[in-house]
Symmetry: C2
């Protein structure tokens, strides 16, 4: 990592668990693919490897997205919000982001379209 | 609300604080605007009023986005993710989503573009 990257990471505000939510957005289509969580090390590895690395809250370990499924997310750019407590990752998604096989995890509607399912 | 909407809300998994993260996305441009939090009542009001209502964690009260600033987010549609613990709201944003006056809260880069600021 560059000095600028280290300094930038120091600006991120992690919650009481040491985590920050990360929104993954398809850099090509603009579709929101998923939300996951990262700790500082996950962000360091993401920047170093240029692919998304999250923190799995259920497994309690680093999660290199795609290691098992092959559905790697290549990093285009990371952004932080005005409060520096949310990260937006623009990615080039290989295959499906969702473990269900859907391209995005947000394939179900709430509200008046709740009965429908995106195909 | 319709019966379908009530049933759909019952599918949402709230965290130990009774909250769920909500990603607001510009329905016209696809830009990710902000991430905020909602409790069940905030989602009920959002669906009833067709505009975004969040839960302000800092103030501990419902937050009808735009009541003070005028920067209302008119609801296009709500979606939930595969685990039903994240909400994606596609909205028509009036003015700026960010309290800084920026259109989106994600106007800063992390990583190799960290020195730049989106204009």
């Amino acid at each position: 990592m560059t000095t600028e990257e280290v300094l930038a990471l120091d600006q991120v505000t992690f919650d009481e668990r040491g985590l920050v939510p990360v929104i993954a957005q398809d850099a090509e289509t603009g579709d929101v693919l998923m939300l996951a969580w990262a700790n500082r090390e996950a962000l360091v590895r993401t920047l170093a490897e240029r692919r998304m690395v999250y923190w799995s809250r259920s497994r309690g370990e680093l999660w290199r997205k795609g290691d098992t499924s092959g559905h790697v997310q290549h990093l285009d750019e990371l952004r932080i919000d005005c409060d520096a407590d949310v990260v937006l990752a623009r990615v080039h998604q290989v295959g499906a982001a969702c473990h269900t096989g859907e391209r995005t995890c947000f394939f179900r509607w709430l509200g008046e379209r709740a009965a429908e399912t995106r195909t």
